[in-house]
């Protein structure tokens, strides 16, 4: 199978619980060896989508295909899908090695082969020395590794992680993110992570699917997601931004002029004149000073937050609007609180989103 052919295909999957639509015609195609993150707020249906892929929840409509096989109606134990649960769900009556061996045993693998596979999986997660430990005698981070070893030992066609790192403290979590990505690439695993931590999503994945209310709003590489958010929701959910509301004055070829309370601004977008929109830009695009051919607005500095390599400056532009600029030390002087300043940013990095789509 080629690297780029579709490996996991979710097509038009919907799921309702009573009156609530939890998954709303989800389409998702993942290539072999790809690491994809489902990112979204609590209750948007991330877990339900994973469960539908694993066969633990039956979708009402739609299809799931894995490795060229339609698995929509295949029971979970015949899907060859690995799941790492948030609570790990390690079997407390088995040892570390017993947990890792479980999937191999139920597949009827020979004992000698099982021992070899268990050793390999445990050494991958650097837990070889704890093979005979009881689960209750492990730290949270160690349990997380055992859960991972247990899932990869059976060489599943796709690995699903449901907030698998969220129980760890921040430092350990950041270490695990990097380690996990390296490890999954090493074993050439195809994986889906679920998280509501945007940093985790950007660090871990080749592509990020931003979910909202049972739909995938955008599926893109982390960089593109940040630079070209497809919706206001995606813009808000990943990274910081300046957002100003206004009304479209004129539209021309993918570009609009917008009348706002801080002045006239230009942005990328297709709208009819008179549409209410939100104009947005990422903070690192804003510079001190006014230039031609750019958007600009002025106001009084409300706060200055030093964050090491960068400084976040929030400017009160009046009329309830504010501007957020991220200045690096190289840009010269950092303004002080209460200073009157003018900020400008390129039109090509300014986006307009429909107002009603505000989450």
């Amino acid at each position: 199978m080629s690297e780029s052919s579709p490996h996991l295909v979710v097509r038009g999957v919907s799921k309702r619980y009573g009156p609530t639509t939890v998954l709303d015609h989800i389409d998702l195609t993942i290539r072999r060896g790809e690491l994809v993150t489902l990112l979204g707020p609590s209750g948007c249906g991330k877990t339900t989508l994973l469960r539908a892929i694993a066969g633990l929840a039956q979708p009402d409509t739609g299809k799931v295909e894995l490795a060229g096989r339609d698995i929509t109606h295949v029971p979970p134990h015949k899907r060859n899908v690995g799941v790492v649960f948030q609570s790990y769900a390690l079997f407390p009556h088995l040892t570390v090695a017993g947990n890792v061996a479980f999937g191999l045993k139920v597949r009827g693998m020979a004992r000698r082969e099982i021992d070899v596979a268990v050793d390999r999986a445990l050494s991958l997660v650097k837990l070889g020395h704890l093979a005979s430990r009881r689960i209750s005698a492990l730290s949270g981070g160690q349990q997380q590794r055992v859960a991972l070893a247990r899932a990869i030992a059976v060489e599943p066609d796709v690995l699903l992680f449901d907030e698998a790192l969220s129980a760890l403290d921040r430092k350990l979590r950041e270490e695990m993110q990097v380690e996990l990505r390296r490890l999954l690439q090493e074993v050439k695993a195809t994986a889906i992570f679920v998280t509501h931590d945007q940093d985790e999503a950007l660090t871990m994945s080749d592509r990020v699917a931003v979910m909202n209310k049972g739909r995938i709003e955008q599926l893109a590489e982390p960089r593109e997601l940040y630079l070209r958010p497809a919706s206001l929701f995606a813009l808000n959910f990943v990274g910081l931004s300046t957002r100003i509301s206004g009304t479209v004055l004129s539209a021309d070829n993918g570009k609009v002029d917008v009348e706002t309370k801080v002045g006239r601004l230009s942005a990328l977008g297709n709208f009819q004149a008179g549409s209410p929109v939100i104009v947005a830009a990422r903070p690192e695009q804003l510079r001190i000073g006014g230039e031609d051919e750019t958007n600009s607005a002025s106001g009084r500095v409300r706060s200055v937050v030093f964050q090491g390599s960068r400084t976040l400056v929030e400017v009160d532009a009046g009329a309830g609007e504010s501007l957020l600029a991220e200045l690096s030390g190289r840009d010269g002087a950092i303004p002080g609180v209460h200073d009157e300043i003018r900020l400008s940013w390129p039109v090509a990095e300014t986006f307009a989103f429909p107002m009603e789509a505000q989450a």
Binding site: K78, F85, F91, H93, K105, V106
Partner: protein, 287 residues
């Protein structure tokens, strides 16, 4: 609290106080157990080795060397084992059903389990005799419906005994199993399934081992209750099914042979302890 905080650097007194508190909590139950159980038990053991002529093992010889009394012991064992096995087979699925039930249904089911515990064993055993008598409700109904012509002999059979015992001791099996099953995280079964285990394999490799503590508690309770049951066999089967419990009663009340009664008591206790210990042993996961 303040005092403890102030004296925190001096660790030793704090530890001592903790230990003292622990002892304080344990002491009352220790005194009760020692006074109510251990002491009488020692007396029982002592008496069982005594007869009119002094120290002897004659009581045990008689009990374990006479075919009649071996049969009595066997009767007790049969009652205990059959009741326990049948109660387990009914209780295990029932505990799962109970744990799955939601809302009012669950409350009703739990109430039907707990309420009978409030009625005395004698009342319940009598209720069974009323049901199963030749002119009892079951026979009357069957005859009225024309299913049978003459009453079937139900009372005073071993079947009646086991049915009654199972009914009366059932809550002691269901409740401990239910307590475990209700806490069982459904993720374990899901994890097993995603690892390739079919529902049957998941049951034997995951569900059963994880619920074993409840099973062991239930088995230990029901076996020790039914092997030593007195009222149930007396009312539901009577003379023709003597058990260790009825033998003990006879030895004390009719025959005035306290030594022999004590020996029978010791044997009964030994059986109960042996089964409880054995089931606890089995609970340990074999490597």
């Amino acid at each position: 609290m303040t005092e403890a905080a102030l004296s925190a650097p001096v660790a030793a007194p704090a530890v001592d106080r903790e230990r003292l508190t622990a002892v304080g909590f344990v002491l009352p139950s220790f005194v009760i157990i020692a006074g109510v159980f251990a002491l009488p038990l020692m007396l029982l053991l002592g008496v069982s080795f005594v007869d009119a002529n002094g120290l002897t093992i004659a009581n045990y010889k008689r009990l374990l060397g006479t075919p009649y009394y071996l049969w009595v012991i066997w009767n007790s064992l049969r009652l205990g084992l059959l009741t326990t096995i049948i109660a387990f087979l009914i209780s295990y699925p029932a505990a799962f059903a109970l744990a799955r039930a939601r809302g009012p249904l669950r409350s009703v089911l739990l109430a039907t389990l707990f309420l009978p515990l409030a009625a005395s064993v004698i009342v319940k055993a009598f209720a069974w005799t009323i049901l199963l008598r030749s002119d009892g409700i079951v026979n009357e109904t069957l005859m009225a419906l024309g299913i049978i012509e003459d009453p079937i002999r139900m009372i005073f059979t071993e079947t009646a005994l086991i049915v009654g015992a199972v009914n009366i001791f059932l809550p002691f099996m269901i409740l401990p199993i239910y307590a475990i099953v209700a806490q069982l995280d459904s993720r374990y079964a899901e994890a097993a399934a995603t690892l390739g285990a079919s529902p049957v394999v998941t049951f034997f490799r995951v569900i059963l081992p994880l619920t074993l503590p409840g099973i062991i508690a239930g088995v230990a309770l029901v076996f020790s209750l039914s092997v030593s049951a007195y009222v149930v066999p007396t009312l539901l089967i009577g003379e023709k099914y003597p058990t260790l419990a009825t033998t003990i009663a006879k030895a004390y009340l009719l025959a005035r042979e306290p030594g022999f009664g004590a020996a029978a008591g010791v044997v009964l206790l030994a059986i109960a302890i042996a089964v409880v210990a054995l089931s606890a042993r089995l609970s340990r996961e074999p490597k």
